[in-house]
Amino acid sequence: MNTEIRKLIADHARLAVDISSLADDASLYEAGMTSHATVNLMLALEGSFDVEFPDSMLKRSVFESVTTIAAALAELQPEV
């Protein structure tokens, strides 16, 4: 799952650094992800993993890092 998340981050998060240089728990915001880029990443994650983030998950902390995104997706897709 983390490989796919990293690919989507590379395509949509418009980071100032290469995602491969970041650890799973590194802050994407500190790496330059803006609010609008976060929305693009959120929509890409929904499309790719066939999930819909509920309102309770539409907040910055959920998209903070590869780890937090994976945790949110695992919650939405328990079978993965």
Binding site: T34, S35, H36, T38, V39, L43, F53, L58, K59, R60
Partner: protein
């Protein structure tokens, strides 16, 4: 057509009183009003009060018409965040027979939109929007950046409503700060305190709130949550015609949203950020009429002296 949002009984009664006194003048469309003499007088004085308050920073004065090149609306992503509020200008394109058909339908007040094509203009949705491309066109900014006063400009939001404080076409009194992030934040914080004191001096029971923009859809909920968590937007709110208080001024820290869209940079290589403040001229005017009565002559002396600067 956008859904009409009815006013509460208190809002409807206040609107009826304003129309009855000819402070606002009715048109056929909800949220679009003419201004009577006393209403306009107060609007002008509110704008001047803000000008006096902002004078210490000696902002550069610029003015733009209430239309914006469509390209600029597209550049800043407005249609992603606020597609429901935008107003685009269309114009006739067609033959003589199509013009005749359009006229015939218009005479009967039927739909003639098929003869209309998009123009290169939209209605300005926020008074600061024309400022960013203008500043970008000047090249790199000197250290300290710029403060730009965009005056009191008409802006459009497509949201017909019965609350007189929710107009579709209204004046934003906007000032923009572009510079180093810490400079921009300090300026916004300075104005936050200044605005509270300004509004309290004219007898308004103003309070302060962290706020969000009315972003569209699910992506909008994410943007709003992000805006709130980072405290990028503050509002000064005042009770006008209940039950909820109404925002009469807002202070918005855009971070690099506009500077990255237009490539605005500082000469020393530091990243440029922007913030703007907007006073809702008609909303402040409505709040003043609500607080002090519909007859200007009976307003408290201290309020009049503050507004008229005498």
């Amino acid at each position: 057509m956008a859904d009409y949002r009815p006013g509460t009984p208190e809002q409807a009664a206040f609107l009826a009183a304003l129309l009855d006194r000819r402070l606002l003048l009715q048109t056929r469309v909800a949220g679009v009003y003419g201004r009577g003499e006393d209403f306009e007088e107060v609007c002008v004085r509110v704008g001047e009060m803000v000008t006096r308050a902002g004078a210490p920073e000696r902002p550069e004065q610029v003015r733009f018409p209430p239309v914006l090149p469509r390209h600029d609306l597209e550049t800043v992503g407005y249609l992603k965040s606020f597609p429901h509020l935008a107003g685009s200008i269309f114009g006739f394109e067609g033959s003589e027979s199509q013009a005749a058909e359009q006229y015939d339908r218009a005479c009967k007040h039927e739909d003639w939109s098929e003869f209309q094509a998009m123009t290169e203009l939209v209605l300005t949705p926020a008074a600061c929007y024309p400022v960013y491309p203008e500043i970008a066109s000047r090249g790199k900014l000197a250290a300290g950046g710029v403060t730009v006063d965009a005056g009191s400009a008409y802006v459009f939001r497509h949201e017909p409503a019965g609350d007189p404080a929710r107009m579709q076409m209204f004046h934003q009194r906007e000032i923009v700060r572009i510079g180093e992030p810490e400079t921009v934040i300090a300026w916004r914080d300075l104005w936050r305190e200044r605005a509270m004191s300004l509004l309290r001096q004219v007898g308004l029971d103003a309070s302060f709130a962290v706020a969000t923009d009315p972003f569209f859809g699910r992506a909008g909920r994410m943007l709003a949550a992000s805006q709130r968590e980072q405290e990028l937007k503050f509002e000064v709110v005042v009770q006008i015609a209940g039950p909820e208080p109404t925002a009469v001024a807002s202070f918005n820290y855009h971070q690099d949203h506009f500077t990255s869209a237009y490539g605005i940079e500082l000469a020393n290589g530091t990243e440029a950020h922007t913030a703007c403040l907007g006073f809702g001229v008609e909303r402040i005017t409505l709040a003043l009429f609500r607080a002090h009565g519909l007859d200007l002559e009976t307003w408290p002396t201290e309020v009049r002296s503050k507004l008229w600067a005498v």
